[in-house]
């Protein structure tokens, strides 16, 4: 069965390693914070200016001066720090953040990502996404495998305006976990529980390598 949003987040959370600084985008990526394994120590960065971001505040303790990049009220954890926007992107561009998780509209089999603009529709802007994808060495995309019309979002070439070139290393969708290899394209690593390889192949447009054995995710 295809994963729901929380399932995708849960699978991505398995990638988190002890000691990492992590930036989570808006949407599914934000949910990843709910599934951090016990015993590992990580810090979340939000590009509006906090390291050591904590969970939402208790009712009544919201502070307009303490939000995340999605403009949601948050808290800070012991060891947190606040800083300005130039300092925030200084750490992003200088690769101090070990993992970036973000959503996408399309990803191509060479790792290009499109996630900021649909021609003809109201453009909201790229926010910090272009800075993040241009600099991060470790980017995981969290998204549905297909769009609302059923068309694959894993393509040979992105059709939408690009956010960054050749930067995505891993994709976790409702159907599968895939790595991206500069030569082989998408490499199918895991299937969602009960989802067949055939379904994934049918719903993937870009170059796809399917190993002999594709295990189910263990969630």
């Amino acid at each position: 069965m295809a994963l729901d949003k929380n399932g995708i987040a849960k699978r991505i959370a398995q990638e988190l390693q002890d000691g990492w600084y992590i930036n989570l985008g808006i949407g599914i990526p934000t949910l990843v914070a709910n599934y951090v394994k016990e015993g590992i120590k990580i810090e979340f960065q939000s590009e509006n200016g906090i390291l050591g971001m904590g969970p939402f505040p208790l009712e009544g303790e919201e502070d307009a001066d303490l939000i995340n990049a999605g403009k949601q009220t948050i808290t800070s954890l012991p060891g947190a720090s606040f800083f300005d926007s130039s300092m925030s992107f200084a750490m992003i561009r200088s690769k101090k953040i070990q993992l970036t998780v973000l959503g996408a509209m399309e990803v191509s089999d060479n790792g290009d990502i499109a996630n900021w603009k649909i021609p003809g529709k109201m453009v909201k802007g790229m926010g910090g996404a272009m800075d993040l994808v241009a600099s991060a060495d470790n980017i995981i995309v969290a998204m549905q495998h297909t769009n609302r019309k059923g068309a694959s979002k894993l393509l040979k070439k992105c059709t939408l305006p690009i956010t960054g070139l050749g930067c995505v290393k891993k994709i976790v969708t409702d159907l599968a976990v895939l790595d991206i290899h500069p030569e082989f394209g998408f490499i199918l690593k895991e299937r969602a529980p009960g989802v067949s390889v055939d379904e994934i192949v049918a719903k993937t447009d870009g170059k796809l390598m399917v190993p002999e054995n594709v295990p189910e995710m263990s969630l």
Binding site: G49, L66, A69, F83, D84, S85, M122, D131, A134
Partner: protein, 233 residues
Amino acid sequence: MIRKVITNVEDALDGLEDDMTIMFGGFGLSGIPENAIAAIRKRGTKNLTCISNNAGIDGFGLGILLENHQIKKMISSYVGENDEFERQMLSGELEVELIPQGTLAERCRASGSGIPAFFTPAGYGTEVAEGKEVRVFDGKPHILEHAFEASFAFVKAWKGDETGNLIFKGTARNFNPVMAMAGKITVAEVEELLPAGSLDPNSIHIPGVFVHRIFKGEMFEKRIEQRTVIKRN
């Protein structure tokens, strides 16, 4: 330059004219210069080019300048959550330039640092890079970005002193410091305005040298855009 305290918010806008380019601190509605925005609305200055990470919401923040048709162009990184903005943009009434958030911040910081241009990897290969110089450093393509020029920067701080020193609070800091550095005239509104010597010189976020006018904001509504909480059980 050192006598900076303004008692009347109208004086803070002295010299602000139609067609100017001005900066507004804040991220979403957090840390925006509410009092200056309200005063600009009242003053009715038109055809403004506004550099601000976001464009407010309907009825608050820069939204109140938009609905009064005072803004000609927005330079931002993210402009969702605003129906009037969308209407004006789609009708062609409002010009919009979208810039990666880190580049936006760095172009402000460059402006306040006497750095006219710098290379960044952000936006390479995208439409943001169109018409810009590309250069490869260490095997990776970068694009050349330029410092902004802004006649005014309006920022909001938590505490300030008579010499213009500023301290921000939490994530309301965001773009305020780099814009404070960048304004030809920087106007700071603060929640608490204190005598010189009240603030720890070791904890100043923006030294007073960057601030030309400072006043205690009459009212800070500090609206929350996305109230996310954990319910008490």
